[in-house]
Symmetry: C2
Subunit: 510 residues, 2 copies
């Protein structure tokens, strides 16, 4: 089907069920929703069991727990009737001079009816670090329900969404209903530390992806209380700026005043990057940023995003921008530069009178279309070298870019988005916001580039879930309604996909 | 004796032994030196035993070892015939929410002959942290002799010098020689972390200090291969610059570009402090710096300080200043500002995409006469507030000064310095360099202020001992010649002191 004809088809679809035949039997959907409501405590219980596993991928000591968690997920997916395999990457991770194994990646199939569309779900079951003493008010590895919120590390990121998808399939099984789509799963255990080993597996198991029609990622959240679909995310270019002075750390009493201190150089370099309003000062950095379309700006005006609520959430008096649209544009359509910290300098509490010998400043620039990573790297390096040259310092400057992740964006008019919009309407009775994510989900770009499949991000987490933070939670409502959303999505996707096929066949016959 | 008469006396003394009667019997000194040479392996063995104690005062887990070390030192000093007491401070230290006891301070007396001068020795037996994996090529707690150097944590800072003083007394005992001075000892176990509890003890036991004539501190080193006496040290004003943004750390993807980041503010503040040549940019900071006398500048010209050797030692291509005199002036007579690090930002290896919510920049300004600590604090605060105000940031700035230590300087023409000069001449056959120390030895200022006694720093460590660094050492030569130096100093001090008394009595009679 040509793009043009597909667009006509999608416009017809958008007139709603009446214009394109009956929707999936309302009574089936009602039975599904009732069954989910009925079994919600079972679903919460399974989430509790999953959250109890300390699958923190950043701690090599807990690597065994990540591997155990992968096994639990595999077993659960097999219980749905799927064929699951745990595939070990060849790579290992070197930590502190010893090799730490990477956990396996889970690949699973359920159904292979050629008449059905095939949808692959991506999620992860590893978590960010969490300790009670970080300021949690409940034990991070014991699901605790408070005021309708299910607290625990991984509740929203990403064990809750993974289980919601599984629950949705399980519900159809329980009701002895045919699953209207072929299902694939790709579940990993290293997402929180950069998905080590995943790209290798995606490339190696390309046959696994060959018959997939859609990939759905559910690993982020809404930006308000309103459900949302995500059609783009920023990339990231991470920089290390190393300044090396003396061969070893010096005492500031014995050498202060006579040596060119690496820290003074680094501080001056870091201070040359952004102005107080956050505008990046690196010459030419905005050159390739895609011009904003009026269409996109108009879209933003309708998005639910309460500036006051957002400010209260993070505890700031004001944002840099004063309007909602400007704020969203700066979060999604413009690059931003953040200085994260310095390695090699004194960082502890108290006082230490050291002149650090070698310091590495760390900052990153979020990438938007159509920025070019190698051009960004060149501009940043050139700028820093110029600033450094003016200081006339005998120290040594080295600039590297350890991470270069491209932004991801897709066409929100694609069929999977329409199916998701309809599913949201069925569950929540509203039209979802079409949003982007200011952060980087490299796996989206990897799937897009390597598999060339249609991708969608379908989040079920709330805007106040506090992923990566203390007291992470998912609300019981988001978890259970999210389960319904996924089930409804299967039905809507199957229906739209089959109609598209039929329409396409007809057009081709005519 | 008036200052004027005392000056005349000292001028007479400086004409040497001939002008003021016979020096202490050369054969006694020879016998002392021979005995020290003879027993040098015993002295090294005791140092080995002391270095084996992991008396790292910065590690609360090792506090017991510091306390054990204090007991070993007390026992050793008692064996000299002294009366020793271990005095516990009232203070405790709070570390990670639990109270950790402070080690006791050792106060000891040996002799109370009213005809003899009383000299008090200050040293410490705690050490800086040391781990093999920090890059030591030998076990830091096992004294290892390589090419005439005795390697081990604390060898030079400060167990070696403490033992050298003890060895000197012990030698006189062994030779059944009367010790020509009354001896006191004040030995502590918290020097490396700021001498917690010591000032309290000094104030409480003021009677211990009442009959002391001279305090000798041996806790630093020469600045070349040439022996040196130290008559001044810089003070230090340490600053915390806290910038608080959001209530919690934020994800740079989700909030980068829309929030006023605390790190950008802090970096700009830190970048306003010094220019690339190290000149401090805080308005008025040099106003109170004492004008250099021509006499002092001329003194510096004769001091042995090899710029090339110093540069090679720390591995830098060049210093800020090109001449020796300029370098020494900047190390001893001018303030310097060093940026030590940032608390609250990302400091680990690898990448983390955090926008830190609260960051504390840490820097310190070395103080010289006649800088005024409260004026410095005011100028620094005002400057930072001005820079911050121009940024128009909604974040919160707080500037504090947790450490304010005054510089210390004394008159190098005092009697104890003359005695030390003579002792150096006896042991090394040369005139020592009169130097200052760019770093801060707060205990010197505390002794000066609280006890009002005459103070001298008499170092025996070499300029390449690497205190606080990997592979710390004292050379066997410095340790053994240092023992001789202390013994010769006792004799010279007693002789000069008694002559001064006699001369003084005569003047008063006339």
């Amino acid at each position: 089907m040509s793009t043009e004809i597909f667009t006509i088809f999608m416009i017809m679809m958008s007139f709603g069920a009446e214009a394109s035949g009956p929707s999936p039997a309302t009574d089936l959907l009602n039975r599904i929703f009732q069954n989910i409501d009925l079994r919600q405590n079972d679903f919460v219980q399974t989430l509790k069991e999953w959250l109890a596993v300390q699958s923190d991928s950043s701690d090599p000591q807990l690597r065994g727990e990540v591997i155990r968690m992968m096994g639990i997920a595999a077993k659960r997916i097999q219980d749905l009737g799927a064929t699951a395999q745990l595939v070990n990457p060849n790579m290992t991770e070197m930590i502190g001079g010893r090799q730490v194994p990477l956990p396996p990646v889970l690949l699973a199939n359920l159904g292979d009816d050629p008449k059905k569309p095939t949808v692959c779900f991506y999620g992860h079951v590893d978590v960010q670090p969490a300790k009670k003493e970080d300021g949690w008010t409940t034990d991070p590895y014991t699901l605790t329900e408070i005021n309708g919120n299910l607290h625990g590390r991984g509740a929203s990121d990403d064990k809750g969404p993974v289980l919601a998808w599984i629950n949705a399939v399980d519900t159809l099984n329980t009701l002895k209903q045919d699953i209207p789509v072929n299902m694939k799963f790709i579940i990993e255990g290293m997402e929180e530390t950069g998905s080590g080993g995943l790209e290798e597996i995606i490339k190696k198991y390309n046959h696994f992806f060959s018959d997939i029609d859609y990939i759905v990622i559910s690993d982020n959240s809404w930006i308000s209380r309103k459900p949302a679909l995500i059609y783009g995310s920023r990339g990231n270019a991470y920089f290390f700026v190393e300044v090396k002075g003396s061969e070893r750390d010096l005492h500031s009493g014995s050498f202060g005043g006579i040596t060119h201190e690496a820290m003074s150089d680094l501080i001056a370099l870091l201070d040359s990057l952004v102005d107080p309003s956050g505008r990046i000062l690196i010459p030419g950095i905005y050159d390739d940023v895609a011009t904003l379309t009026e269409e996109e700006q108009q879209l933003y005006d309708k998005i639910e995003f309460d500036m006051e609520e957002q400010k209260n959430k993070i505890g700031v008096k004001k944002f840099v921008q004063s309007t909602k649209v400007e704020t969203l544009l700066h979060l999604w359509c413009y690059p931003s530069l953040s200085i994260h910290g310095i390695e090699g300098a004194f960082y502890g509490p108290g006082t230490k009178t050291v002149i650090p010998s070698k310091v590495i400043g760390k900052f990153s620039i979020r990438q938007v279309p159509n920025m070019n990573l190698s051009a960004v790297k060149e501009k940043v390096s050139k700028h820093l070298e110029n600033v450094f040259a003016k200081r006339n310092s005998p120290n040594k400057l080295t600039v590297t870019m350890p991470i270069g992740a491209l932004p991801w964006v897709t066409d929100a008019k694609e069929l999977q988005y329409e199916a998701a919009r309809r599913a949201v309407a069925k569950v929540f009775g509203i039209v979802p916001d079409m949003i982007k994510d200011g952060s980087t989900i490299p796996i989206a770009k990897t799937f897009q580039t390597v598999t060339q499949k249609k991708i969608m991000m379908l989040p079920i987490g709330g805007s106040d879930d506090g992923e990566h933070s203390q007291n992470e939670k998912i609300s019981r409502d988001n978890y259970i309604q999210g389960t319904k959303l996924f089930a409804a999505f299967f039905l809507e996707l199957a229906e739209l996909h089959q109609k598209k096929q039929k329409y396409s066949n007809q057009i081709n016959k005519d």
